[in-house]
């Protein structure tokens, strides 16, 4: 059997590489409307067996490369949306293609471990070599999970477990707690809440929707928990011309946070954790200042509230740092930092005092996926080797300059240019005009996406270079003239 396989695999592998693109086009090529006839045909075929309500177009992933996505109809688009900000190295990066054919990866795929109980022999070393090497300042231990939502869910469970242990003088659950929780009675089943923010997005599981306030269509018809939602700053740009207004925003929001923590305590529904994004991405790219986040760190510390920073969309280098919260210069690190998307595996870093001592409390069948860790390990190696975060920071400065110029040139249509690194956004007067720009840009060969009510967001990968930037703004300029 081995020789049959070896032969067939070697052949396949040879064919495989020839089938996978290995160079970028010089510029977009548009052959059809998007979605084109082939995409529409595939959509009609798929719809009876798997819903397609949110499908924009079908992608030929074998033909896509680097910053260019190729759709089912052969249209080649420059991609600054990158699978909702989830491709660290663009499409089909040769180093990742290479790692995909290694025996470690193949066995991880076909003999998937229940990682919490029977990890691979190389899992600990893999975690150390990849995730630990980029751990946020002050944090060391990490828990892998499958996606951003499960990372947030388990971060919050960790906070609840810690909060209740504190109430018991640091001890694990006693007999009374274990017995009462099976009937969902106190003391085993406590009233506890999590604070979120207006405009936030932390996932779409039933509970995460209680702290998610980005769009009504995500929340409607789903029952919710009585958890507090605080105000999040809404700044005016450019920042240096709106200092007073923006400082007042910070103050007002921090006051709201303090008041709501007190209010929920009075209701016997203590805030055990506060979860916040460094940049509210899905909600419309809303930023908080370092002072605002330092204020949150102070308030959570004072009140014994676990401070969770959700870096699912911001983590991984797009902001010019691996972690967007790096530039806050906090007096003490966040208690938990969650991640997914560009970091390929989901998971969260946590402070040592939050470590759960008892087995099977933070657990599920998979606890992540070793194939994602192996890819991440290689991606981090490439990011360091090719200095991609540093490069992204430099190109980010250019990006912001160009975005400001674009706004100046189209001041009746654009407002609030903002960003950090290549993680950037700009606002339109209405949702309809924003949507029209997205459609027009796609038709011109630039794949971008919206966020919030009327914002356009940019999420290029870390292999985005000067020539891509020039093309991006050329296509934006052209598209803006057309709408």
């Amino acid at each position: 059997m081995l020789s049959r396989l070896a032969k067939s695999n070697v052949l396949q592998q040879g064919r495989g590489l020839a089938q996978i693109a290995n160079a970028e086009p010089n510029a977009p090529t548009i052959k059809t409307a998007i979605p084109g006839p082939k995409s529409l045909e595939l959509k009609a075929q798929m719809d009876p067996v798997h819903q397609t309500t949110s499908v924009r177009f079908f992608v030929d992933y074998e033909k896509s490369f680097g910053n260019y996505v190729v759709d089912a109809d052969g249209n080649q688009l420059l991609d600054v949306y990158t699978q909702i900000s989830s491709l660290p190295l663009g499409y089909n990066h040769p180093d990742l293609v290479e790692v995909a054919a290694t025996p470690r990866l193949i066995t991880s795929l076909v003999s998937r471990p229940a990682l919490g109980s029977f990890p691979r022999t190389d899992y600990g070393k893999g975690v150390e070599h990849s995730l630990t090497s980029i751990a946020p300042k002050g944090l060391k231990a990490v828990q892998t999970m499958l996606c951003g939502t499960s990372a947030n869910e388990n971060a919050i469970k960790t906070a609840f477990i810690w909060y209740q242990a504190q109430r018991r003088g640091g001890k694990g659950p006693d007999a009374a707690a274990l017995e009462s929780c099976m009937n969902q009675q106190k003391p085993g089943t406590p009233n506890l809440s999590v604070m979120g923010f207006q405009g936030a997005f932390h996932g779409r599981s039933l509970c995460m929707l209680s702290v998610t306030r980005s769009k009504a269509i995500h929340k409607v018809d789903i029952p919710a928990l009585d958890w507090p939602i605080a105000k999040f700053p809404r700044y005016k740009y450019p920042l240096d011309k709106n200092v007073e207004y923006n400082n007042a925003q910070d103050k007002e929001c921090l006051k709201d946070v303090e008041e709501k923590i007190a209010e929920w305590k009075k209701r016997d529904n203590d805030v055990a954790a506060l979860i916040v994004e460094p940049i509210q991405a899905e909600g419309g790219d809303h930023y908080g200042s370092p002072q605002f986040f330092q204020g949150l760190r102070d308030i959570t510390k004072k009140n014994g509230v676990v401070f969770i920073v959700d870096e699912v969309q911001t983590g991984g280098g797009g902001t010019g740092d691996i972690w967007a919260h790096d530039h806050w210069n906090l007096s003490s690190p966040p208690d938990i930092v969650t991640f997914s998307k560009k970091l390929l595996t989901g998971g969260y870093f946590y402070a040592e005092h939050l470590r759960v001592k008892e087995a099977y409390r933070i657990y599920n069948t998979w606890c992540g996926d070793p194939t994602k860790l192996l890819l991440l390990d290689k991606a981090i190696e490439v990011i360091k080797r090719d200095k991609l975060v540093e490069k992204s920071k430099l190109i980010g400065v250019e990006f912001q300059k160009n975005l400001a110029q674009l706004q100046a040139a189209h001041s009746s249509k654009l407002d609030q240019a903002r960003g950090r690194g290549t993680f950037a956004a700009i606002d339109f007067p209405t949702s309809a005009l924003r949507d029209k720009l997205v459609d027009t840009a796609i038709a011109n060969g630039l794949h971008c996406g919206g966020c919030g009510d009327k914002s356009l967001r940019f999420r290029p990968s870390l292999v985005y270079e000067k020539r891509h930037l020039e093309q991006t703004f050329e296509l934006l300029n052209k598209s803006l003239k057309q709408i």
Copy 2:
């Protein structure tokens, strides 16, 4: 670059195949205590960076094959636990190894799509060829997800969305609903509940823990929703000698279900969905009769409650059918059937009337993982080609006979032998004795696992044959004599 890669990949692939086991040992080989010194060393190394509280031992996945798992110390164990019932074809099945090296799989790995918006061109066909080909009777459309928990979460969201649409005469959310849900007020944010059962397990996300009642350590310290929990039958075995008692169990439990649906309606917290496992696996392998489930189908239909069957652990062939609910002969199919584990991708089948019309309501970044679908596609091909479900059904009959004989031979230690196919369990007088048997069996080379308080569960893969069965009972017999 292509030629460098092609060469290195071909070499790697050759090396890779040589490194991946391709034959089973004839019998277990035990060299050390388990966990052995190497596992203990790896655990100590990993613990500072990633918690290891529930790690049993580390596995050398390259050396494992078929029904045999090889640990870090070179111990070769016959595995009837299979990564918590999650390997359909055992370890490193050659057909899966082969598919792992194809360009479709490689690009799916390294250029991961946001499936809900930009699916691969082959995704619809892949769904049809794999999942649709094994769809439960009466259901056609399927939604892929990442894991069993996210499948259950989204099945329940689907139920809530449908329930509220019914209240609006079949219409989608109106302006009043969309506006109020952002403040979590009625009508947009309704009171709705989900009915679960005592002993059930549906996952460990915050909300799923409200319908999970298998073990206190999973639930303690986590806040919960006011959702009803009904009684689930607890039968006496053998079934043919306890007909009256078992029928009374069914009746009592169905009465409880009806009463609680009425009670929660009175509380203005309607039961929108009922979720139930065909066999309560994690909770201790508790079975319901076809009559019981037919009763549930009738009650849910009468009350407009969405009937969700959670086949995350039972689906995939181990019970002698692809779906454990197949043999209930329901008068009408379940509304939703969820799956994961042995089916490699998570997801759920749903009845057409439940299809969500609006985009982005059932959605997340990944909506599954195309690498899992490609593996499943091949696995289903192999299962059909090699008639593995039929074979598993036959070997299952033998398994149940042997289990009954084992119980008769060790009647002071064993009770309640039960099962369907090779999905089987037996009870011990105490947790302590069960745990001792698991440890002893592992020390003798049989990897099995517990469930519930004092049950031992068997979850062989579909490549489990007569010789493995003989070894299993030899090792069990030996181990029982030693405890």
